[in-house]
């Protein structure tokens, strides 16, 4: 742009609004906004995140692993139900990825998080004093399924070695059922979990794994049995995808409670939460949301195997 023009537009002006008036008004608006912002809760941060003032709320978090929208909209139910039963302020913050949830748990932004097996181990190692409080009945006996595209012509079997020469995708990088345990079982059968042609893919989610195997871009993949079951029941699975194998059982998802919440809200918080979770009656909306018949107590020792496998695969440092 020409200098002449710039001079003309920005040159000496006869102001209608005096400069001093303009600056004063701007400063006043800014000051008013700053003052008004005090005491307001940001729409993007966790409500009640003011540890200095009073007890504060119990801040619930979850990694949307399946049906994120449903989780996001229904988590209000969990927060309300828990709040009424335990006489606490409970707020819910959805988090988009595993890594962020672990970090936010470490920083104390989240108090009680629904972690996967591996992410729970990562979070516990980074946050001394964190303790698991409950898991679903199905989490003590969790499975993954290997799926293949029908074009591979593979018939269901227990032998995983025929998968080795296929283009293969995992789910999210730190998913227990979509990555860690399948990699472990592959290695047990002598298949290099990173050795698939072109390297394994990381689809990012169980649904994306299904879609990519249906498309044939990846000939095989692995996902959480619960998701596979619910998609099959809903009839949304493309007929080009079939189940190939089912893994042995392992422990997966659990609720992990952070140490700061215990300090703030009382040492008996963990037992109270365990009691509330395990006491939920069959048919409770919270159980339906989690796709379980009930919650059961759990302990850190249940995830020792996951930690060990995570270390050997370089996923826990």
């Amino acid at each position: 742009m020409s200098t002449r023009r710039a001079v003309r537009s920005g040159g000496r002006v006869e102001a209608q609004l005096s400069r001093r008036g303009f600056l004063t008004a701007t400063a006043a608006t800014a000051a008013a906004a700053a003052l008004a912002a005090c005491g307001r809760t940001s729409p993007v941060s966790s409500p009640g995140a003011a540890p200095s003032s009073g007890r504060g709320a119990l801040r619930l978090g979850a990694i949307p692993d399946q049906d994120p929208e449903v989780l996001q909209r229904l988590y209000g139910t969990v927060a309300d139900s828990m709040s009424a039963a335990l006489d606490l302020d409970v707020s819910y913050s959805p988090v988009t990825d595993y890594g962020a949830a672990v970090s936010l748990f470490r920083t104390g932004d989240l108090d009680l998080v629904w972690f996967g097996g591996l992410t729970g181990v990562q979070a516990r190692l980074q946050t001394p004093g964190a303790q698991p409080v409950a898991q679903r009945d199905i989490d003590q006996d969790f499975h993954s399924v290997f799926v293949v595209n029908t074009a591979t012509g593979l018939a269901p079997a227990d032998d995983l070695t025929p998968l080795a020469p296929l283009r293969f995708t995992y789910g999210s990088e730190t998913s227990t059922s979509g990555r860690l345990m399948p990699a472990f079982f592959l290695r047990e059968q002598g298949v290099d979990p990173q050795g698939f042609p072109g390297g394994p893919g990381f689809s990012g989610s169980h649904d994306a794994t299904l879609a990519l195997v249906a498309a044939g871009s990846y000939q095989a993949g692995v996902l959480n049995e619960q998701v596979w079951g619910s998609r099959t029941a809903a009839g949304t699975v493309d007929p080009a995808v079939v189940q190939y194998a089912r893994t042995p059982a392992f422990h997966d998802y659990h609720w992990l409670l952070g140490p700061q919440a215990t300090q703030r809200l009382g040492a008996d918080l963990a037992p109270r939460l365990t009691e509330w979770f395990t006491g939920l009656p069959a048919g409770d909306p919270v159980l339906e949301l989690f796709g379980a018949d009930g919650f059961v107590p759990t302990e850190a020792g249940n995830y020792a195997q996951i930690e060990q496998i995570g270390r050997s695969l370089g996923l826990v440092s």
Binding site: M1, S9, G10, E14, T26, A37, V95, G204, A215, G216
Partner: protein, 537 residues
Amino acid sequence: MTAVLTPVAAPAVLRRDGVRWAWGLGTLVVLGWSLAGAGLFSGAVVNGAGTRQFGRFAAAALSPATDGAFLGVLASSVLITVAYAALGAALAVGLGAVGAVAVARTTWGRRRLGWALARGALAVPRGLHEAVWGLLLVNLLGLDPWVGVLAIGVPYGAVTAKVFADLLDEVPRGPYDALRATGAGPVPAALYGLLPAASGGLLSYSFYRLECAVRSAVVLGLIGAGGLGYQLSLSFSSLRWPEVWSCVYALSVLCVLAVVAGRAVRRRVADPRPAGDRLRRDPLLTTAVLTTLAAVAWSWWYLAVSPATLVSDRTGDQLRYVLAAAWPPDVDGPLLSAVASAAVDTVQMSVIAIAVATVGAVLLAGVAAHPVRPTVARRLTGAVVRAALLVLRAVPPPVWALVLLFVLLPGILPGALALGVYTLGVLGRLAAEATEELDPRPRAALTALGAGPVAGWLYGALPAATGPVLAYALYRWEVAIRDTVLVGLLGAGGLGALLASRLAVFDWGAVTTVLVALIVLTTAVDLVSARARAALR
């Protein structure tokens, strides 16, 4: 970056010098190498069986989700995105103004070393994508609105500082020198001798940054900072295409509003309305500035940003935690070789992306430009092409990467094409604007002599448009290399994929190494691109 504001004028005389031939041949060699790297010459890359999955995505474009509850969620997300964009851009302009003083030649005078070091320091914040800043800041600040504001403000601030400094250095020195000669100190002399002359350019550029900030605010949502991008990523991870498309359309509307408003301001600054016999404030510019200031104040209130967070003990603790874990960087052999091969992938992806986008932009620019003598059919085609370009750039690259992976085999090609398609959306618009600003006479002369529309375009418009379009393409190449991180973060290969895998396991030492590699690579591409643009002029 200045290229966006000052398109390179095509030379009046034809020059066929060796330097340009060398650059041209070099480009072809690099492109061939990149395509070979993408496996184009070694077997199949297309997966025909995936068209059905791709079709589901495409078909949902016609049936976006419109249920009330979802639209309500979208509306509040739009507000968050707008607030991030406004505050981020405001912070960038503030940082840019301070930074400009630090990197302007005027400040350093003949001390060239100091000037070069100050400029070099800008490469660090600039070399990292907003999403990377966002991921790092989440670790320091947790769920706080500052994450989004700083992730936009810091890298944008560095770019803005560079451009502001250039603008200040380019205005005539007469008034400044005269003030200095009469005894004014350097600061008042700059304020009264340089600033008024540069203010038009500064204002234009600030509004351009605001436009860009809207798209960046969406990208930040993808990594969890809230807003429209966040809703989009939630719907995307369970492949609910109708809801994804609703988000895309909401984003398109937002982008159109930002661009239309920003362009109105920039046009007015470039071509002020004659004020008659007295100088007075331009009402359009005054309204724009006041509205923006009000929007910034509103955003501050809406997001409830608290400066205390930045200096709180907790933030300090987290900073110490991350720094202690991240230093020293990992330099073991396997990691370095992984970084090197990922860097090669990143370069190849960016080259393919820019090649696809440039070819597409050149082909579409003529149709997308507002026609000189419009017929109904021509006007309609133009509108359709412009809308299509808008959608191309409103669908975030990670979404393109997944849907292209349905119809392509895994490798760097899906990621490269995803970036290419997205960049085409941006470059197509820039090329169309460049076409509109061409001298219409050569083409009119050819038409008057009986040339058909295609021949008229080929000989009358294309030669003159080549210079500006190539300059834009080279500038977008710098942007594309940063954007490869974005598709990589969601698994499409390159340094982004490596960064994502290291972040996922909290291997901070390796994260530092990858970040350093990214900054070095971005700086190198920046330098090459600047040399190539110089050769074009």
